[in-house]
Amino acid sequence: MKKKERRLGTKPGTILAFVAPYYIVFFTFTILPVIISICISFTNFNGMQKPDFVFMENYEWLFLEDNIFIKSIGNTFILALIIGPIGYLLCLMFAWFINELRPRARAIVTLIFYAPSITGSMYLVWRAIFSGDAYGYLNGFLMKLGVISSPIVWLRDEQYILPIVAVVGLWSSLGTSFLTFIAGFQGVDRTYYEAGALDGIKNRWQELWYITLPIMRPQMILSAVLSITSAFGVGTIVTQLAGFPSTNYAAHTVINHLQDYGSTRYELGIASAIATVLFVVMIVSNHVIRKLISKVGN
């Protein structure tokens, strides 16, 4: 009898051997840091001495006293709104259009659109394009057209930094979420389209809205999650293009502000409070967006 019962399930030891190695690493480097970060955010901690508990002081400081934090939140939201939703819609649109191509062309065009997100060190090129002297490509081009008479210092001028960061961010945002869309479009069974045509679908827009999008809703959700997560994480682009900090904090994001407190001033309590705020913002926006997408096509 006993032997028979054991055959039904897998031995706990075996399950542990499968699950534990991954989850030990995952807990140590993903979950534990979040918990530590939340804990530190309620303390005054410089990394060397024992942290003392100050409860909400760090948050009060950030929201009531620190003007640059408020500015960085604003910049982060502007960038996230541009790179998130617009980037997401671009991913969807490009994937849709690419899906209309023949297989060979499809593979090549997919590569062209995806490549920017996997080339790590392209900032050099963007710096050359937006270079502030007459040798910069954009300056050279605009001066040749006669739009401007003297070169503009693009990456040092408050007016232009944020839009430029947004453009470069969009350029490199067609990553995994874009490929997910490509896969989603290819996964739709042709017979649905044939059935749809019989039911009175007249053009490709209707086909997209009434057939394709509802079928690939699960892909849309994963894609949205990945887009939002990376949109709120903009930081390196700013540092690489506009320096640290950018002129008058024109493109200073929450991530930059976190780095400032964390690695320049060793105010780990405040830095962790920033991290916690950003963490909450990301989780909440992800849930909101998931709710929104579940309404598509209904």
Binding site: G9, I15, V19, Y22, Y23, F26, F29, I31, L32, P33, I36, S37, I40, G47, F97, E100, A107, T110, L111, I112, F113, Y114, A115, P116, I118, T119, G120, S121, M122, Y123, L124, V125, W171, T176, L179, T180, I182, A183, Y193, G196, A197, K202, N203, R217, I221, L222, V225, T229, S230, G233, L258, G262, S272, A275, T276, F279, M282, I283, R290, K291
Partner: protein, 288 residues
């Protein structure tokens, strides 16, 4: 009789629409590709073309001198180029291997074995897809120093094992592609779970582990973040090449050569695995 070649009729497609799509893809494709074309052109420009005014986009007399410059600069550095390359190769390969094995095993247990709490464990991974790891930089440093991994390559290799996207994709793919009946048959034949996993499941999910390999490798190859590594001889290749990049105007050609060398590897890998990656992602959807 003339043979009529059958071509499936494309439903609801107008020629005008096709043309607009072509124009649209061409314009945006050019915008996407220009920076990379620029980098390639610059890498092959001789010195006199780099400094011509007004600036010229395309290269006229391609030369390899920038690549020679790059290798000369890297040879002159305190740490030889081969050392940086070895570091990056070690981190990329070890990190990727560990990630594929650990997350595949775990994904198998999460979708095919029965035990308590597996839903909770998986939801944690899904939750972690929703925040950027940039927010955990500080506690991660504290964890690394507690482990004594500062200034070791393990600080870059081991965290890669636990990447959450890989586990997520693998689990979703197994759920669709590995039928329970096959596993049952193997169990009745008396095969152990480990044997089933390595001999039955892994061959069935080849597209998924290729995808995991590519995603993981791309991330690790491009790693320039050295907040855990201060010893010069342990730093990754991308860090060394970024130093060339920040070397000022005289090095623009060499820097472009460096950028081209760095981007070749992930792009070539993607070209060969694109169809497998798309196949894997087709099962990747998230339920609402």
């Amino acid at each position: 009789m003339k043979k009529v070649k059958y071509r499936p009729k494309r439903l609801n497609r107008s020629l005008a629409g096709d043309i607009w799509i072509g124009i649209f893809l061409f314009i945006f494709g050019a915008f996407m590709a220009l920076p990379m074309i620029y980098a390639i052109c610059t890498a092959f420009k001789p010195a006199d073309e780099l400094w011509v005014y007004p600036p010229r986009f395309f290269v006229e007399n391609p030369t390899l001198s920038n690549f020679k410059d790059l290798f000369r600069i890297l040879d002159d550095s305190v740490v030889p180029f081969s050392r940086y390359l070895a570091n990056t190769l070690f981190v990329s390969i070890a990190g990727t291997l560990g990630h594929v094995v650990l997350s595949s095993m775990c994904a198998y247990a999460l979708c095919k074995l029965k035990f308590k709490g597996k839903k909770f464990l998986f939801n944690l991974v899904v939750l972690s897809l929703m925040f950027n790891t940039a927010v955990t930089a500080i506690p991660n440093f504290l964890v690394m120093s507690k482990l004594g991994w500062i200034d070791t390559l393990w600080s870059l290799v081991v965290p890669a094992f636990g990447s959450s996207l890989g586990l997520y994709l693998m689990k979703q793919f197994m759920e669709v592609m590995v039928p329970d009946s096959v596993l049952e048959a193997a169990r009745i034949d008396g095969a152990s779970e480990f044997r089933i996993f390595f001999r039955v499941v892994m061959p069935m999910v080849r597209p998924a582990w290729l995808t995991l390999i590519i995603f993981s490798f791309q991330g690790l190859w491009n790693l320039a973040n050295t907040s855990y590594i201060y010893r010069e001889d342990l730093k990754p290749l991308n860090y060394a090449l970024n130093q060339v990049l920040s070397g000022g105007v005289t090095r623009v050609g060499a820097a472009a050569a460096a950028a081209v060398l760095m981007m070749i590897v992930p792009i070539v890998l993607f070209v060969f695995t694109q169809s497998k990656i798309v196949e894997t992602l087709s099962t990747s959807g998230m339920k609402d």
